[in-house]
């Protein structure tokens, strides 16, 4: 498989590590145990199109959100995580 890293271009999958389902959002500090439990343990494992986290550890160390068909491995989009890339402008 090849993933088109927004920073490095198309690279071979050996440079990346896989984390899985990109949908769950980390609950806020007061969300309670149930919500955190869901976040930590409940993952979708779709046969078909899903959003996944991949880490370009063998390249620019960016976390990427990859929309991919888990059956055909077709990749529809690759975007950098919100905090990836260059330093943020001072607010």
């Amino acid at each position: 498989m090849r993933i088109a890293c927004p920073f490095c271009g198309p690279r071979e999958n050996g440079e990346f590590s896989y984390l899985g389902d990109a949908k769950p959002k980390r609950p806020g500090p007061d969300a309670g145990e149930e919500a955190v439990y869901d976040y930590v343990y409940l993952r979708d494992n779709v046969a078909g199109e899903m959003e996944e986290f991949w880490y370009h550890g063998g390249g620019c160390r960016s976390w990427l959100k990859v929309r991919r068909n888990t059956v055909t491995h077709e990749i529809f989009s690759v975007e950098a995580a919100a905090g990836a890339g260059a330093a943020k402008a001072a607010s």
């Binding site: 145990e33 955190v36 986290f53 880490y55 550890g57 960016s62 995580a81 919100a82 943020k88």
Partner: protein, 995 residues
């Protein structure tokens, strides 16, 4: 077998170089051939018919094909350490001095005792592995399995390690063309002319494919001239690369392919610095599969007798290699293509004994040819062939009308039709589709960006192959936006339609083979059908049809057809098994490349490594690192003596240890403190600049992840350390936290593990030593440099270093950090400056002893199951902030009072050795999973206390301090009393490290 010379070499013709004779040996017999021969063609030229023994029945076998699909002619190639089993004689290029031997026979190929297996044939039927040798079960491993393995086998691997080397390489292109026959050359020409970067891979050493065997006319010139011109044109294009002796074996996702290049298999020993084989990964935007088609045999009695050969192979040996597989040849065909073999044989002066054609009608031209050369054309099928190791004898023909006839020939060419090579196009689980008109499977789509062209796509005329290849190459280039003209398609007047009358199986009494390599007969397929193994995947596993080195390239379709008939289904309904890479066998050596022996994985060396090696240090692998484990001195009898000396030296004087392997991460930015507060259980935003603090990280599920000290070097700059093992994973975790969980924080991370050489210097005399190293202006006193202080200091000589007053040993200690390039100089300086203080380098063993004495937790306690509280660090968990793992750490089971927690453990009998892994049982209780009260995690022999000490995870441990329990070690058969105690054995008040 006697070497009778090249009795079957034709007087003229062929693409061999008669000016370059080559000597070789087969089973010890010396023979000769010519440059341009394969081992198979040279054997044929030398009149050799018998080349191997079959897998189960040890039947005599000859050469069936002229390509990589060969099921029979497997030989051990070369000798000694370079001996390679199961090489196909049909693909081995002949070189001077080549040594080959037949396989799977004893004592000799001609007289093979195990051919008695044929008498026991009834027990070797389909599924015999599952049916026989079942009782008594105890005999399987020691008796039956070795017996079967000896009797049914392929070649022997060389006993020594392979002296040659293999390498791996990457290549990138716009258009990859797999196959250098007419379709492939036309595709490469079209794509190359259009301006695309093209790679053309051809399995053979020579380009041309079937043109090398069948000739023909292209663009009004002889095919060979056209090929030469095409190669010249391609060679002149700067972005076209032709790779011969290279098979595209695999199609992976997104245009990634594997291809095996046999760089030096055609010479006895690879030239210096050159690999034997090279495994390519080729990334292509488009792929044209022009891999051709494979002719298939027909299943009839004795169809495996040496001398029965595919018609196209006979033609190849005659036309390309000027070697006659037979002098009096018969042909059994069901299509016109087979008749080309008759033409080739007649043109070379060989005799045709007769043609058996399954079709009711043959052309007028074919009839005229027969009458001119005086051979019979029989409408019917071959019923069976007699013969044995000497070759074919009588050929019994069943005529269409029911009568029989007999032909006498020393060779039988067989054509059951052609199968397009659908391997590559089907590797992504795509199933090929059946075409009734050619009675064969053709590609039905394929991986994204891949198309098949020419006979790989079911087009069998030369004109059609050229046209389709050109169109595929042009379309691929145009699709990628290359606008130059693809030029005119090459043309040929050979546009005959290919038609056949399918014949799969001629039923009879004699053994009729479907799969030659696995000795699967038509009756095995019938038995599988009878016993319910009717799915093709079951058929394959039950009978082994289509397994092993040839993967059923010459057998699968016939097997399916027989199963289809038996079960009343059509062939497409019966379906094909799944196609998987690689298309041809790939040696493990090629897959490993340079990653073998000491290069199996990369190695990381500490900055003091070369110095430590000079001292004779013993190294231990920790992940990729080599770390000094201890430094033996002359006269020390074992590791324990060395380690004991090192520990004593540190506790009484001063010693140092390279700790550069710890993961080191720079955390920068205005929100660096806030960021660390969220990833550690304790607080770092409150840490004063110039101070270090021990930190503990949890996983989001509340279990401890990693620990280490983090220092604040500036308001917006922290320096974080991880354990050696978790350096990479923690970096990934922190990047995840930064980029995905907390993108609002203004913080950046940089891995600086390799940038710093870091040494722990410990012992009561540490300041004396440091004063020799750092500039006199630096204040190292307890007031000027208190415990947990961190500061940049100037070293004598002008190098700046970071100095951390932290201690893992429990002694007064500093860690000093210099840019990695100064590490070697620093360690040498420590030794010379410390000589007068008796400075002692210590390794990871002494480090481990002192951490156990001091009760520090490490890997065995941070085992992925323990909480902060289990480790005695529960109080570090801040209640004033959110952090990774906070909520889940509060779950009932993770705060249960009966959890196993870290305690110290020492044997009551002080002379006794404590062992890791021993279980802690209450005194008087019978050891069982119910009474198990934990286990010993870490042990050491403590020179300080002159006894073995350990740490353990023990249920209710903290309430049981002082209790005498039993260490139960069923693995070593030991039970002994131990005392549970405070884990901090050494200086529990911490006075020594605080100074």
């Amino acid at each position: 077998m006697s070497a009778g010379g090249q009795t079957h070499r034709l007087a003229s013709g062929g693409l061999i170089d008669r000016g370059k004779p080559l000597g070789f040996s087969f089973d010890g017999q010396t023979m000769s051939g010519y440059a341009g021969d394969t081992l198979a063609s040279a054997l044929i030229a030398n009149g050799v018919k018998l080349v191997g023994r079959s897998f189960k029945y040890h039947r005599p076998r000859g050469i069936l094909t002229a390509g990589s699909e060969e099921p029979n002619a497997l030989v051990e190639l070369r000798s000694g350490a370079r001996r390679e089993p199961n090489t196909r004689a049909t693909t081995v290029e002949l070189y001077d001095g080549l040594v080959a031997a037949s396989q799977n026979r004893w004592p000799s190929l001609s007289f093979d005792l195990l051919s008695v297996n044929q008498l026991a044939a009834p027990i070797f039927v389909a599924g015999f592995y599952y049916k026989t040798f079942m009782w008594p079960g105890a005999l399987w491993e020691k008796f039956y399995e070795p017996l079967i393995r000896r009797a049914a086998g392929l070649g022997r691997a060389a006993p020594e390690s392979d002296p040659d080397h293999y390498e791996k390489a990457w290549a990138h292109c716009d258009v990859l063309v797999a196959g250098g026959g007419p379709a492939g050359l036309a595709a490469a020409l079209a794509a190359g002319r259009a301006g695309a970067r093209v790679i053309l891979c051809e399995e053979d050493a020579t380009l041309g494919g079937r043109l090398l065997s069948d000739g023909g006319t292209i663009d009004s010139m002889p095919a060979a001239d056209w090929v030469a011109r095409a190669v010249e044109e391609l060679g002149a294009m700067p972005d076209v690369r032709i790779m011969t002796r290279t098979t595209v074996t695999s199609a992976f996702d997104h245009g990634t392919h594997a291809a095996l290049e046999r760089v030096n298999d055609h010479v006895p020993v690879p030239p210096e610095h050159q690999p034997r084989q090279r495994l390519w990964r080729i990334v292509a935007k488009r792929t044209v599969v022009a891999a051709g088609a494979l002719e298939r045999p027909v299943v009839f009695g004795g169809n495996d007798v040496p001398g029965v050969m595919l018609a196209s192979a006979v033609r190849t040996y005659i036309n390309r290699y000027a070697a006659a597989p037979a002098k009096r040849l018969a042909l059994f065909t069901n299509n016109d293509d087979g008749w080309k073999t008759v033409d080739a044989a007649l043109a070379s002066g060989l005799t045709i004994a007769g043609v058996v054609d399954a079709r009711a009608e043959v052309s007028a031209g074919q009839r005229a040819l027969a009458s001119k050369h005086g051979f019979a054309v029989l409408n019917g099928v071959v019923d069976h062939v007699d013969g044995g190791k000497a070759g074919t004898g009588k050929i019994a023909v069943a005529l269409a009308g029911g009568a029989t006839a007999t032909l006498e020939a020393d060779g039988l060419a067989v054509s059951g039709g052609w199968n397009p090579s659908v391997g590559l196009t089907s590797q992504h689980r795509g199933r090929p589709k059946w075409r009734d008109d050619i009675a064969a499977f053709v590609p039905d789509g394929g991986p994204v960006g891949m198309v098949a062209a020419g006979s790989a796509n079911g087009v069998f005329s030369l004109a059609g192959c050229l046209k389709e290849g050109h169109a595929a190459g042009a379309a691929a280039a145009a699709d990628l936006g290359f606008g130059n003209s693809a030029g005119a398609a090459p043309s040929s007047d050979d546009d005959a339609t290919y038609a056949l009358k399918p014949v799969w199986h001629v039923k009879g009494k004699k053994k009729a083979f479907v799969d030659f390599q696995n000795d699967v007969t038509a009756s095995d397929v019938a038995l599988a059908a009878l016993e319910g193994f009717q799915s093709v995947e079951h058929l394959k596993r039950y009978t082994t049809l289509g397994m092993a080195t040839d993967q059923g390239k010459t057998s699968n379709t016939q097997g399916l057809a027989i199963m289809a008939e038996l079960t009343g289904r059509s062939i497409p309904e019966t379906g094909t098994t799944i196609y998987r890479p690689p298309y041809v066998p790939v040696a493990i050596g090629a897959l490993a490349g340079h990653h073998r022996d000491e290069n199996f994985h990369s190695v990381r060396l500490t900055p003091s490594h070369h110095w430590a090696a000079e001292q004779g240090a013993v190294f231990v692998d920790t992940g990729l690192w080599k770390r000094a484990q201890w430094y033996p001195k002359k006269g020390e009898k074992d590791w324990l003596e060395s380690v004991t000396r090192e520990v004593k030296a540190v506790r009484s004087g001063v010693g140092f240890c390279d700790v550069s392997t710890l993961g080191k991460i720079d955390v920068h930015g205005p929100d660096a403190g806030a960021f660390l507060d969220r990833v550690y259980i304790n607080t770092f935003s409150s840490l004063a600049v110039g101070k270090a603090r021990y930190g503990l990280m949890l996983r989001e599920d509340g279990i401890v992840y990693d620990d280490g000290t983090t220092s604040r070097l500036a308001e917006d700059h922290y320096f974080l350390t991880t354990t050696t093992a978790k350096a990479g994973p923690v970096m990934q975790h922190l990047e995840f936290c930064r980029q995905i969980l907390f993108p609002e924080l203004d913080v950046q991370l940089a891995s600086v593990s390799d940038q710093w050489a870091q040494f722990s210097i410990a012992g009561p005399k540490v300041r004396d030593l440091l004063k020799e190293i750092v500039d006199p202006s630096e204040d190292l006193s307890n007031e000027g440099f208190p415990f947990m202080a961190v500061r940049e200091v100037l070293l004598r000589g002008g190098v700046k270093a970071r100095l951390f007053r932290i201690s893992f040993s429990g002694e007064m200690a500093f860690e000093i950090s210099v840019p990695a390039r100064f590490g070697d100089a620093l360690v040498r300086k420590l030794m010379t400056a410390g000589e007068k203080f008796g400075v002692t380098p210590y390794g990871t063993e002494a480090l481990g002893v002192m951490r156990v004495e001091k009760g520090h937790v490490a890997g065995p306690e941070l085992n992925g199951m323990t909480t902060a509280a289990d480790l005695g660090l529960g109080k570090m968990m801040s209640t004033k902030k959110d952090f990774i793992g906070r909520v889940m750490a509060g779950r009932e089971a993770l705060v249960a009072p009966d959890r196993m927690v870290v305690v110290g453990i020492k044997p009551v009998d002080q002379s006794r050795r404590l062992r890791s892994g021993a279980h802690i049982i209450k005194k008087g209780e019978v050891p069982s999973p119910d009474t198990d009260g934990g286990y010993v995690t870490s042990v050491c022999f403590s020179p300080t206390f002159d006894q073995w000490l350990g740490l353990g995870l023990v249920t209710h441990g903290r309430e049981r301090i002082g209790e005498i329990a039993v260490a139960h070690d069923p693995l070593r058969g030991e039970d002994y009393e131990v005392e549970l105690c405070n884990p901090v054995f050494y200086d529990p008040e911490g006075g020594r490290q605080r100074g």
